[in-house]
Amino acid sequence: MDWLTTVDHKKIGILYLLGGTLFFVLGGIEAMLIRLQLMFPESNFLDAQTYNEVLTMHGTTMIFLAAMPLLFAFMNFIVPLQIGARDVAFPFVNALGFWTFFFGGIMVNVSWFLGGAPDAGWTAYTPLSSSEVFSGKGNDFYAVGLQIAGLGTLMSGINFLATIINMRAPGMTFMRMPLFTWTTFVSSLLILFAFPPLAVGLFLLTFDRLFDANFFEIGAGGSAVLWQHIFWIFGHPEVYILILPAFGIISEVVSTFSKKRLFGYSSMVFATLLIAFLSFMVWVHHMFTDGLGPIANALFSVATMLIAVPTGIKIFNWLFTMWGGQIRFTTAMLHVVAFIPTFVMGGVTGVMLASPPADFQYHDSYFVVAHFHYVIVGGIVLALFAAVFYWWPKMFGRMLNETLGKLAFWLFFIGFHLTFFIQHILGLIGMQRRIFTYLAEHEGWAEMNLVSTIGAFFMAAGVILYVLNIVITSLKPRNASADPWDGRTLEWTLPSPVPVYNFKQLPLVRSLDAFWAEKMAGNKEMTPAEPVGPIHMPSNSILPLIMAFGFFVSGFGFMYAKHDFANDFVRMLFENHIVSIGGLVITAICMILRSLIDDPGYHIEPEELESKGVKA
């Protein structure tokens, strides 16, 4: 019950971790089904329709429901600790953001049991996705489910921004913030400006599908290309929303385990901001083959190639951080060292794809598939694993097993390159993206696809080992000290796991790498910025969960308003929009309750601070 009503950013972080892992496993199973189907030519393991559903759900799940929440888990848990805050700016909204994401994710996934999953690709291009003629009921779940999940993401993004702007500890200026906090800040800015276009796009798609609107209906004057513009003006920043926090994680880990200040801190911040700015200027590079003309293509091509500059700055800064450092090859560091060359490979193919004449050859081929898996798996997922090993002791008070971790890493890393490197070549010799099978006559296709599938098994084995590591660790007693890695930032000044109020006294920050600076000055802990006093805490609330549930009910109401139910009463409820409006009324009532009833919260008294809450 405590977990359902919690407004504590640390618990919500853990909820995000659990939710993200659940969807990561689902997306992983879908990935394995894809690879099994493509293992041999002319395979009948899955039929074409099921294959379309599996590949759509793999992409949708991994991007929206796995990568985002897993990053949010660390943003939620770590950022308030890194800036010296007791919670986020809006603890209630934080919980609401999680529950809306969760119900949205559930909604997209229940489509499997209600007439088939979405089948128009994760990009849901119109008119394929917008018309019942071409695609099934599943795309309703895509449009409505992602709408709800996206709303949660937007709320969390605003929350992180307000937190970082307003809640920094005394002395924690912007240019003293750890890089993970910086990248969270910039990534949240991107969420703020990228998710509303997605919301509009999904609204328009929903209107077309459910209410006979004509946005993408070519026969009524609509435009199919409009969807592509709206989707990619969201979709391109989205990949930076994912990769920037990953860059932040890499920066934290590389600096800690090289025992050096991050090389070029200010250029790192600048590069992050520049990437964020450019990310909104490049969406047409997904649409080079649309025929928008040479001028549009050339402009967007140059803008895309420009992104290589700030990204290159980052790569060199990480290398120079390691240069001359006292490197410790812990599991977290191993992932980071593997990340750098892997991500560079993804970046290089990215620049190749940015050239329109060449893109006409690469477009919609496995070369593209290989490219984005190099940046997403080789970038985001490796960074996430690094974060898991790095921050696990802080989150759960236990050290993950290093030997098992390294074994899992090697399996995953070798498996990854085995799976995806060969897909570059498959793409170059003509294998199209999203085809469900291929003929045996294509020379080399069968062998290369087999290799790719074998690689996928290595990756799966690696993931199982990661999970096993977590299970084994959680059975052991708590053994983590407050500062197991000889850390540099504020989260390592707190006990592991962190008490509910985070900081007994807010710390006074005097430098970048605040904790390290104090250590170098011979201090064991931070100088407090305030006397010990009662700490005000927000009360738990069940309302966020009920509010999110209201959206969930309403979504079903709209989707099934025209459904031919056998039961007359049920049909009456849906037909007259009683269910859809009812769901919104549930949400509205919760909002009103929240507004009318002031939350006085409660106080933790100084004498309680000594004894209370070493429990996360």
């Binding site: 700016a89 809006f90 909204v93 937007l154 605003i158 929350n159 921004l161 307000a162 702007i165 307003n166 809640m167 703020l192 400006f193 990228a194 998710f195 509303p196 276009p197 919301a199 509009v200 796009g201 609204f203 328009l204 209107f207 209410f211 006979d212 609107a213 004509n214 946005f215 209906e217 009524a220 004057g221 609509g222 435009s223 409009l226 513009h229 709206i230 003006i233 006093g533 009662p534 005000h536 009103i592 507004s595 009318l596 002031d598 106080h603």
Partner: protein, 206 residues
């Protein structure tokens, strides 16, 4: 324990909406929310501009729009925005009566705007400009309807703020709510200025 209650016993500060960290967070967060709303409406505007000439057999913008009605609606909404400025001024003077009066006036004028808009939509539907008629009609109703939905939400919200002022009075808890709802109302107003330009003016002359 006395330290907890210090805020209630003190006289209200000059800018009660910024007196607490919660209040300041709310205002920062709300400005950010409005930034997101701006991109939301920006996308709807882009959609409308892309599709506004796809009228098929339905009436065109030039045939439909009636300047007198729209000018009246614009006037009413702009004045309601002025009232919410006066409301915030009254709040800064700690004059709860005037604050409630001006908020009430805001709601009345907002309501009048909404009635005009409903009449307008109804009128257009009779002229054959229905939701499903063409890409133009869908994008028109999506853009203007989203704005109308925002107005309706804002009315309910400000009405609830008035009610809370009766019940709780002007405190450091209610003041940020007044301030933030006024921000929201101005935002709605600004969006309407763009709708007036892009939809109605460009529809008549473009």
């Amino acid at each position: 324990m006395s330290s907890h209650a210090h805020l209630e016993n003190q006289p209200l500060p000059a800018e009660p909406e910024r007196a607490t960290l919660e209040g300041r967070n709310k205002i920062t967060g709300f400005w950010l929310f409005l930034a997101g709303e701006t991109t939301l409406f920006g996308t709807l505007f882009a959609t409308y501009i892309a599709l506004r000439n796809q009228t098929l057999s339905g009436p065109t913008a030039n045939e439909l729009f009636d300047f007198e009605l729209v000018a009246l609606a614009t006037f009413i909404l702009l004045v309601s925005s002025l009232f919410s400025v006066l409301a915030v001024n009254a709040m800064h003077k700690h004059n709860v009566k005037a604050l409630q009066f001006w908020l009430f006036a805001t709601v009345i004028f907002g309501l009048a705007f909404l009635v005009l808009e409903i009449y307008e939509f109804n009128h257009y539907t009779e002229l054959g400009h229905t939701w499903s008629k063409s890409a133009f009609s869908s994008s028109f109703y999506a853009l203007v309807g989203f704005h109308g939905a925002h107005v309706a939400f804002g009315l309910a919200w400000i009405a609830s703020v008035i009610g809370q002022l009766f019940k709780k009075g002007l405190t450091t808890v209610t003041a940020p709510k007044v301030y933030v709802s006024a921000l929201y109302w101005h935002f709605i107003d600004v969006v309407w200025v763009f709708i007036f330009t892009v939809v109605y003016l460009m529809g008549k002359v473009g």
